[in-house]
Amino acid sequence: MKNNDLEFTARGWQQRYGIMVAVWSVLVGGSLLWAMHQETRITLGAATAAARANISKDILFRKWATSHGGVYVTPTEHTPPNPYLKLPDRDVVTTTGKKLTLMNPAYMLRELQSDFSDDYGSRSHITSLKLLNPKNAPDAWENKVLHAFEQGEKERLEVQQIDGQPYLRMMLPFITEQGCLKCHGFQGYKVGEIRGGLSTAISLAPYLARERELGVSLALTHGAIWLFGLAGLGVSYRRDSNLSAERQKAANDLRESEQKYHMVADYTSDWEYWIGVKGEIIYMSPSCQALTGHDVDEFSANPELLVTLVHPDDQAIYEAHRHAHSEHAVEGEAEFRIVSKDGEVHWISHRCRPVFDLRGNWLGIRVGNRDITARRTAEDKIIELNRDLERRVIERTEQLEAANQEMEAFSYSVSHDLRTPLRAIDGFSRILLDDYTNKLDDEGRRLLNVVRDNTSRMGQLIDDILKFSRTGRLELTFSEIDMERLAREVAEELKPADDNLQLEIEPVPKAWGDRAMMRQVFINLLSNAIKFCQSSDVVRIKVGGSIEGDEVIYYVKDNGAGFDMQYVNKLFGVFQRLHSMTEFEGTGIGLAIVKRIITRHGGRVWAEGKVGEGATIYFALPKKEVEHG
C-alpha cells in the first residue's frame, strides 16, 4: 500500500522528474561535448591538411629544383654564393659577363621558407642531422623527430605553443633522391635514405577562432534545446503533479469511502448479505458467524448453505418467501428458524429488498437477518402465560357465575318462600284476634301482637337483605351525574312533614357512576340523617364535596344523635345498629348498602361523629380521567 502511494505523491513525481532532468542534461551536455570534440578534430584535420599541403609544396619545389640541379641566379647581398656548396661550377660568368651563382635546392627552399613564411601563415623549415649549412640546424623538437624518423616513423604531428601562440607542427622525413647526391653525395648518402626533414608550423589561431565561433553557436543551440526540454518537462511535471494531487485525493476519497462502507457493513450485529442476480453472494457481513457458526468464506463457497441452514420444519415458509419475493425482486419479510453449525436453533426475522443501480438495473437482493430468538421465546412465554391467565379467568368467572347463580337462586327462593310462612303466621294470628277475641284475655292479645310485630320485622329484614343482595348483583350503567341536583331531588322527596329541617347543599363536583345507585346512596344517607335528627329541635343537614387528588369526595353531615367513634368500624356492617330499636327504627342495612354501592364504583366510605353532636358520612369516588364519553 505504501509503495503504491509513492507513485501518486508529489515527492514521487519530484524524484521522477529530477531523474528526467538529469538524463536530459546529460544527453544535451554529452551531445555538446561530442560536437565540440568533433569540431576540435575538424580543426586539427584542416590544419593538418594545410600543413601537409605546405610541406608537399616544399617537397615538390625541392624536387623540381633538384631535377634541374639548382638554378643560377644573380648573386646579391641577400643571396650571396652558398659558402657550403663545394662545387666547381658554383660561380659562373655568362657570355655577356654577367656573374651568376648556383642556388642549390636547399638554399632555394630555405630562402623561400624564411622570406615568405608570414605570407602563408606558416613557418617552414628544412633541416637535417648532418648539416651543410648551420642555419638549417634543427631545434629540440625537430632533433627528436629526426631521430624518430631514423627509427622508421613516417610522420609527426604536434600542437605546440610558439611565442605564446598555438601552432600545429608537422614534420615529414626527407628521402634521398638521385639529384641530392650532386651536392650531398660527399656526405655518404644513398638514394632512399632519410637525409633530413621538412617541418612546418601552422598557426592554429584562425582555426581556433572559427572553432570558438562554432563552439559558441553549438553551446547556444544546445542550451536552447536543453532549456526547451526543461520547459517541456516543467509543463509535464506541473500537469503530472496536479494530476497526481487529484489522483491522491481520489485515492483518499476512495479509501475513506471504502472504510465507511466497511464500518457500515461489517460492524452490524444483524446478519446482512447481498445476493447477485445469478444467486452468487456478493457481500456478507462477518456477523454471519455469530448467528450461523459459518464464516463468510463458507457461504461464498456454497451459497446453497442459505437454504440448507433453514430448519426442516420451516423450509416451506422459506421456500414460499423466496419464490414470492426474491425471485420477483420485490420487498418482503418472513420469520423462520435456522439451525446453526453447532445445532443451535435460532429464530430469524428475515427482511429482503431488491437493489438497483442508478440506471435502475436490478442487481439482486439485499437481505438483513435479525436474531429474534429471545423475542420469540419471550413471546411464546407471554402467549403461554396469557393462555394460562385466560384459562384461570374463565375458571374463576365460571366459579363466580356459579356462585352468582346460586346467590340469585337463593335470593329468589328467599323472596318467594320465606315470606309465605310469615304471612301465614301473621294472617292466622290476626284471624285468632278477630274470630276468638272474646276467648282471649289482654295478655293473650298482647302476646299475639308481639308475634305479629316480629313477623312484620322479619318481613322487613327479608326485604332489606334482598335489596342489599340486589345492589351487589345489578349491573352498573355509568354516566355523568349532577350530584348537587340529585341530592336536592332526594332531599325534597324525604322532607318530613314538620318543617324544622334546615338543608344546606353546597355546589359539589359532578360524579361518574350509576345514577340509580347514587340516588340510593343519597336516599339512605339523607333518610338516616333525618332519622337521627328527630330528637333535635332543628334539623341541620349539610351536603358538600370537593376534588381531592384523583378522588371526588362527598359528605353528608347532620347535627343528630351522632355516634361513638370507637364503634365506627361497625357502622357500615350489615344489620349493624348503634342505637336501640326503641330509639331509632331500622334494620341497619342502609350504610351497608351505601358502602357496597361506593365500593362497586371503586370508591371508599368512612365516617366521623360524636355522641350527641351529629355524624358526617363521607364517600369518595375515583375522578374520571377522560371527561368525554
Partner: protein
C-alpha cells in the same frame, strides 16, 4: 262441585293452602268468593282454562272474569300458564293478575312481557294482604269493564 254449572268469576291458582285460605277469606269478607275456583297447580289451571282432563265438560269462553296466578307452582309454573293463556286466541282476553310473594324485577319484567294485566306482590302483613286481595277482586269483577266476547 257445581263449578261447571255456575259461571266462574275468579280462578285462583295457588299451591299454598294457607295463602289460598287467607285469600279466599279476604274475598269472602267482600262477598266476592261465591263464584271462585281454586286450583293447586299450573297443570290443573291449564286443564280448567282449556277444558281438558277433569274439566273436559267445561266450555271454553265462559270465564273466568279474572285469574289470580301465583308464580311458584308445582308441575307447570305460573309463568308458563301465563304464556299459554296469552298465546291462545280463546283465552287471551281474560285478565291475569299475578299474585305472588316475589318482588324480583326479573319476574315483574317477564310477566309484563308475556302480557300480564297486573302484578301484585303479596304483603307479609295480613291486614295489608286482605285489603289488597279484596281490592283487586272488587276492581276486576265490578269496576273493570271486560270485552263483550268474554261475557
Amino acid at each position: 262441585m257445581d263449578d261447571t254449572v255456575k259461571e266462574v268469576e275468579i280462578l285462583l291458582v295457588e299451591d299454598n293452602p294457607t295463602d289460598a285460605e287467607l285469600a279466599i277469606r279476604a274475598l269472602k269478607k267482600s262477598n266476592l268468593a261465591n263464584k271462585l275456583v281454586w286450583v293447586k297447580d299450573g297443570a290443573e289451571a291449564l286443564e280448567f282454562l282449556f277444558a281438558t282432563g277433569a274439566y273436559s265438560e267445561r266450555k271454553i269462553g265462559t270465564g273466568p272474569k279474572v285469574i289470580l296466578l301465583d308464580l311458584r307452582l308445582p308441575k307447570v309454573d305460573g309463568m308458563e300458564v301465563l304464556r299459554r293463556v296469552k298465546n291462545d286466541e280463546r283465552t287471551r282476553t281474560i285478565p291475569v293478575v299475578v299474585l305472588t310473594s316475589s318482588k324480583e324485577d326479573r319476574d315483574v319484567a317477564e310477566s309484563y312481557q308475556l302480557g300480564v294485566n297486573s302484578y301484585i306482590s303479596k304483603p307479609v302483613e295480613f291486614d295489608e294482604f286482605a285489603k289488597t286481595v279484596s281490592g283487586l277482586g272488587l276492581y276486576w269483577l265490578l269496576v273493570n269493564h271486560p270485552p263483550v266476547a268474554v261475557q
